[in-house]
Symmetry: none
Subunit: 204 residues, 4 copies
DNA sequence: CAGTAAACGAGACGGTACGTCTAGTCTTCGG
DNA sequence: CCGAAGACTAGACGTACCGTCTCGTTTACTG
């Protein structure tokens, strides 16, 4: 048996942190300037002052780079906080959904995020990573807040939490991705109100 | 004055119907076989037995070809029928949503439709056409059925029809596009039931 | 039987003469400026204002381009004239060999020719073409002149013409390629005199 | 003032003999297997189990490695012996030239030697070293033998020894490098006979 | 016999050029 | 004069090596 015939895997401990950062930054800059179509590996390498092979060595695709670039942001502690819990479920959900609407309206956020959503829609493996590393934690926060509300008796005891989350985020996501209309605070409020109307405990 | 200095637009009356059909068919075949990534203009031209210029003359992009190919299907009279109205709103919605779930599970339908959705998410102009020609009529059918129900007193008189449609389709769309879970009949049913619970007339 | 399964071969009748010329000229310019090492396909394409694929479509290697570029020169009628025949063999050979020495001393000629000789030495197939299209006609001219001299009784009747040509050109070629010394007129003269001394008819 | 600001030159006394040998051997093996084109520094390093820097530290180019590898062979005492002198110049020259022909027909010898000749033809500095260390001693041996013959009255007293050597080796070299024909014993014999015919003392 | 300095195996790095692929345009020719 | 065929310019793709530059690890001389 040969000891290690074809390891292929580079030595991560020798990785250049400077190059890694430069690549992530260059990717976000370029996708903001020119869109995902014109985000080429060559442009990233040139902008980051890096050889192409350094990119190919550490990332399997352009989308994976963007995902890393975004994940770096999301790993900020602020994002990990979960949803607020003031005791008023509707108010809390509106707060978060309004903030999300504002975020998705910011071009600096929208461009790379849309690029990732598009790439994820086209590629199942990327889709999985996208869900796990970016959208997953956010959705879990919704689920936690709704569970707390259910236990407090604000929601029917048989509410399907996953479905509830889907009702809150699905219309929002659809409107954003398909450009079905503006992501206003009014839309966020109406969405929350209508969904919660269907989730309240039924009369005894 | 020169008679026609720059006649940019080709003469549609001379267009070859045979080529048009061959191109649309080749596109659907190729996207089904190899995915949107490998759907290239060159491959379409080769498969359709057509010169590349014939494609560029009549369509602005690959996605536009797919859109035409799909629209041809949707223009079948069956699709234009609108939603059924048996008098039982929940049952009617479940019927349609279940059928849609089955459709989106069929690979022959899914591949090109996902390709279009992806292209639309990335390109605003295409997004507009996609909505106008493909998703629009379907959503209008939902709105019509819900309006009838509202007038019949099955729904609260102040229900926002657009929001109601979004609540029914958004979670469905999101789950499909992001591969968030299987599009089962059970999911369709739960979705309809929960949404309608929030739209019913409130007790006097 | 399929009609034409994989022709691969481009249609020569549609070839762009303008591009062909531009590529040949750019190659000669570049090899003169920077040497064969820096003669890259990309540089040729850029200088010629041509896509790389146009080069790959019509030539198998950089050396093949140079060979074509050179052959174009050699096909000038002047080159096809054969050696002079004044009746004085030694004088005629010295005339030609001196002219050749001058030519090989001219940098504009030397650079691409050396590049070709090097490439030919490394690659057997190219070597064959190089001999057939460039050096062959010249050597044949020597052989013809020597044959005439043999028939005129100036050379021994059993002289091996190929060997005689090799004796005249071999030392010259070796000195040039290995930089064994300067290609002077004196060298050409001494070479001719010594070789002819060995080829003259032996005393009865 | 710093004692030794930029030493640049490595300490030869610490050089690893094991690595040196492994590199020379790997180079000869690789050039024999795949030709000079595919002889890369990385391949040599990998084959020799050596870091690339160890190669760059001690050799300026691939060709220089090959030159060293070859020189190691030539420094065998057998090679340093000079030409035989049996008193019969023609026989002695034929012996040597036939042996050389055999050598140049051996693939194990031919591949690296051709690689060196090619590299030398392309690079003047390498050409100089090639002549000095490899071909020079051999040519000097020819010159010595011819000088002895001249002094013995077998050759004309005014024979130019360098030219005589060139006449014997030039046609041979040319035929080999340009693949102008097979290097047979018959060719060697004819070459010697014809050249010597031109160098003999003229009749009184 | 430790300390240390340099050569070592290893391989990541910024680059260049490769040869291939596709986009979108331009040209030729047959029907 | 439209359409098929496909050659064209352009440029991104992913790969192979280049020569340089760290990394730790031997290795051999020195204090």
């Amino acid at each position: 048996m040969p000891p290690t015939p074809a390891p292929r895997t580079p030595d991560a401990s020798r990785r250049s942190e400077r190059s890694r950062r430069a690549i992530l930054e260059a990717s976000l800059e370029l996708v903001g300037e020119a869109g995902f179509q014109k985000l080429t590996i060559e442009a990233i390498a040139a902008r980051a002052g890096v050889g192409k092979q350094t990119i190919y060595r550490w990332w399997p695709s352009k989308a994976a780079i963007l995902l890393d670039a975004f994940t770096a942001r999301v790993e900020d502690p602020e994002y990990a906080a979960g949803l607020p819990d003031t005791g008023d479920l509707a108010a809390d959900l509106k707060t978060v959904l309004r903030a999300t609407a504002d975020e998705f309206t910011d071009p600096g956020f929208e461009a790379p995020y849309r690029a990732l959503a598009v790439a994820g829609a086209a590629d199942a493996e990327l889709s999985r990573q996208f869900a796990e590393r970016l959208t997953g934690p956010g959705l879990a926060a919704y689920r936690d807040r709704l569970r707390a509300a259910r236990e407090a008796g604000e929601l029917a005891s048989d509410v399907d939490l996953d479905l509830a989350v889907a009702l809150l985020t699905g219309p929002f996501f659809q409107r954003w991705l398909t450009r079905g209309g503006p992501l206003t605070h009014a839309f966020a409020d109406a969405l929350v109100d209508t969904v919660l109307a269907g989730l309240r405990p039924r009369d005894a």
